[in-house]
């Protein structure tokens, strides 16, 4: 039923008719038909009146030339003129109402269209502008056409490469969409769309000279350029499997959406470019830190891998201590950045401390100087021998031999202590002090101790090569990391980067550095960082102080760290039970390092560190 039927309301028309009827000559039958339906009938036989019947007067109700209805009158004999005048008057009135209703409907229709467009814009703006990724913008735009009542069978957003003008699909829906996209891009029709400021509808593709049936199913097509002032971004193409698949209203609706999508896409592209630049800055810094020392090469690149693998397992866990832990894309990104930058404070740590491979190394290894002094003493001993021999002393040879043996033993001890591989006991320290007290004399007769205070101090370091001051410098790198990262105005999505990065040397028992935070004061990602940092360091290729460790050794060391309250036990258990250590080892460690590990003895849940919290 056409909408024009509503232009004349049945109740109103009947009332109008009944009000006017008494003015008709008595005995007249009358009826009104509109839109194919009887609206009113009065007088005897009024309902049965039909146009063309004898003595029936018929008056058309028209709208813009089209006949929409009829007023029928059958006057009694002799009253035709009076009835005709009545009919003219009534029709004039009804005609006015129809036209007014038509005008009202048109205005209302226009207004409703505006309402529709406004509602569409409101929804689309929030949906499209919400996304910061080009691919999500494309998906949101396509969703507006997918399953819409226009029955669009295929839709795709093509992105224009600004460098070479080529197009690639950013998103698509429909059967065999990928193949359709590829075929579409090759068509001459597609080439003709490129660079056009306005879109269009192709109602019958078979008739188009530019279409060679590249996608056999497509019968009609709608396309629109995605653009911002001065720049063409891409194309939206919709297709239907029947001719005349799209109407002007579809194009208008698509235009509204595309105008919003274009600026959203542009913003997303700019944002993506900024993100890429930021990411590469982060990577440059990580590479620079790694490059500072041959011994930490790849550390800042590998820690993120371990951290993300472990975080992903915690995210996936549906039971146990991490059932409630989730990691969205923003947090994943934050963790990755934190892991790449966790050692950024090392840019201010002097290399000679980072790389200090022996205790007497400062800018260079001072053991050579000590060796020279020993050489001096050997010469002195030789001179002493000749002098004693010249004086005819019988034990000169024996004394000389004893002296040389003593010097060799002393130097061997210093050499061993210097490496940092051995634990230096109080007895060792006593011997070092005794050796230091040995004096050597210059040619001018001036006397010096064999080792100065600083050399004794460094050689007496119990574990490793670093003295307490140097250890402090190393530990300070985390302070510098925190100071440096605190100055970066990270956006909300990355606001936890500093906490994650700055917590990698904290211990869950609160004895870590620099802040001495306890388990409950550390976020899960920060605790993950600590595990990733330690595992990478233990399994890394040669370090100044030791050879590359095997996997089983590293796990053993970390298990002890778990028992000592150094690392988070629940996370370490997850690290083992989910095979994170093995997946990482297979990909990144030398085959010689990857020895079999039986993790079952380490997975005793009773020693879960949650008790330590």
């Amino acid at each position: 039923m056409s909408k024009t039927a509503g232009y004349l309301k049945e109740a109103w028309t009947r009332q109008q008719f009944e009000l006017a009827y008494p003015l008709l000559p008595a005995g007249t039958a009358a009826a009104v038909w509109f839109g194919g339906k009887p609206l009113a009938a009065v007088g005897e036989g009024g309902a049965e009146l039909s146009a063309g019947a004898p003595a029936v007067l018929s008056f058309d109700l028209r709208l813009e030339g089209e006949v929409l209805g009829t007023v029928l009158l059958r006057p009694p004999p002799g009253a035709a003129a009076a009835a005709a005048a009545w009919g003219d008057l009534l029709v004039h009135g009804l005609q006015g109402v129809i036209e007014a209703q038509y005008a009202r409907h048109s205005v209302a229709q226009e207004t409703l269209e505006s309402y529709r467009e406004m509602a569409l814009l409101q929804r689309a703006v929030s949906e499209l502008n919400h996304s910061l990724k080009p691919v999500t913008v494309a998906a949101s735009l396509l969703k507006e056409f997918q399953g819409h009542k226009g029955a669009t069978d295929f839709g795709a957003v093509f992105l224009r490469n600004a460098d070479d003008g080529s197009y690639s699909a950013l998103g698509a829906f429909g059967a065999a969409a990928e193949a359709a996209c590829a075929a579409l891009v090759q068509s001459r029709l597609f080439a003709a769309m490129d660079g056009q400021p306005q879109g269009d509808i192709v109602n019958d593709l078979a008739q188009s000279p530019l279409w060679a049936g590249e996608v056999a199913e497509f019968q009609s097509l709608l396309w629109l350029p995605l653009s911002v002032p001065g720049e063409s971004l891409g194309l939206l193409v919709l297709a239907a499997r029947r001719p005349e698949g799209f109407a002007a209203a579809d194009l208008k609706r698509a235009q509204t959406l595309v105008s919003v999508a274009s600026s959203a896409l542009r913003n997303a592209q700019l944002y993506a470019a900024e993100q890429a630049m930021f990411q590469s800055f982060v990577r440059v810094i990580a590479t620079a830190i790694d490059a500072k020392s041959p011994y930490t090469a790849g550390h800042c690149r590998r820690v993120p891998e371990i951290a993300l693998m472990l975080a992903e397992k915690a995210h996936q866990a549906e039971h146990g201590p991490f059932a409630g832990f989730t990691l969205d894309d923003d947090e994943r990104n934050a963790l990755e950045i934190a892991a790449m930058l966790h050692d950024c404070g090392k840019v201010v740590t002097p290399e000679w401390v980072v790389d200090k491979s022996t205790k007497l190394e400062s800018i260079n290894n001072r053991l050579g100087l000590v060796a020279l002094r020993f050489e001096l003493l050997r010469r002195d001993a030789l001179i002493g021998y000749y002098r004693a021999k010249a004086e005819g002393r019988p034990d000169a040879g024996q004394d000389y031999q004893n002296r040389l043996r003593q010097l060799d033993e002393d130097f061997a001890l210093l050499e061993t202590c210097n490496t940092g591989g051995e634990f230096v006991s109080p007895e060792h320290v006593e011997r070092i002090r005794r050796i230091a007290a040995t004096r050597w004399r210059t040619a001018g007769g001036e006397e010096f101790p064999l080792l100065d205070e600083n050399e004794v101090y460094n050689l007496s370091v119990q574990r490793g090569t670093l003295n307490p001051e140097e250890r402090k410098i190393i530990e300070d790198h985390v302070v510098h990391t925190i100071k440096m990262l605190s100055q970066i105005p990270f956006p909300r999505s990355l606001r936890n980067v500093t906490e994650y990065a700055g917590g990698h040397h904290e211990r869950i028992d609160g004895r870590g550095y620099p802040r001495g935070l306890k388990r409950e004061q550390l976020s899960i990602p920060a605790r993950i960082m600590a595990i990733a940092d330690i595992f990478e360091a233990l399994t890394a290729p040669d370090r100044p102080y030791r050879k590359a460790g095997t996997l089983s050794w590293a796990i053993g060391v970390m298990h002890r760290m778990k028992q000592e309250g150094h690392i988070d036990g629940d996370l370490f258990d997850l690290f083992l039970s989910e095979g994170v250590y093995l997946a990482y080892a297979r990909e990144h460690l030398a085959d010689s390092q990857v020895d079999p590990v039986d993790v079952t003895p380490y997975l005793d849940s009773r020693e879960s560190s949650s008790n330590l919290a």
């Binding site: 229709q109 409703l112 309402y115 529709r116 406004m118």
Partner: protein, 127 residues
């Protein structure tokens, strides 16, 4: 939707009545559309005609939409009448009050015709 489906539009603004009426003419089954221009007239219309669905403006002379809604909800004969309150943009905070007194749905003016149609279809299908 049965032939005698009735929908009432109660709004003091003539253009809103006209636009809603025209929108609802797209409904299947040609429901009867009744209109009233103020709250008091609207309540009388609802009590007389028992429409399945009422679009009810909030801000109206004589009797506001909330009072009409509350009166309809007090009348057990009108238990099957679903009420959609029409609020102007920016008055969304009034929704809580509307829900308290028994309104079922809200539509913001200017309304999205397609949303109104879908809402009406959904309500009439289940009523």
């Amino acid at each position: 939707m049965t032939q005698n489906t009735k929908i009432a539009i109660v709004d003091d603004e003539v253009h809103i009545r006209a636009l809603l009426e025209q929108t609802l003419e797209d409904l299947e089954g040609e429901p009867e559309i009744l209109m009233a221009a103020n709250g008091a007239e609207g309540l009388a219309l609802i009590e007389r005609e028992h429409p399945q669905l009422v679009f009810l403006d909030v801000m109206m002379p004589l009797m506001n939409g909330y009072d009409v809604c509350a009166a309809v909800r007090r009348n057990p004969d009108l238990a099957d009448t679903t009420i959609v309150m029409l609020t102007a943009k920016g008055q969304e905070s009034d929704r809580l009050h509307g829900l308290d007194i028994g309104a079922h749905h809200f539509a913001t003016k200017p309304f999205d015709p397609d949303e109104i149609l879908e809402l009406a279809r959904r309500i009439l299908r289940t009523s």
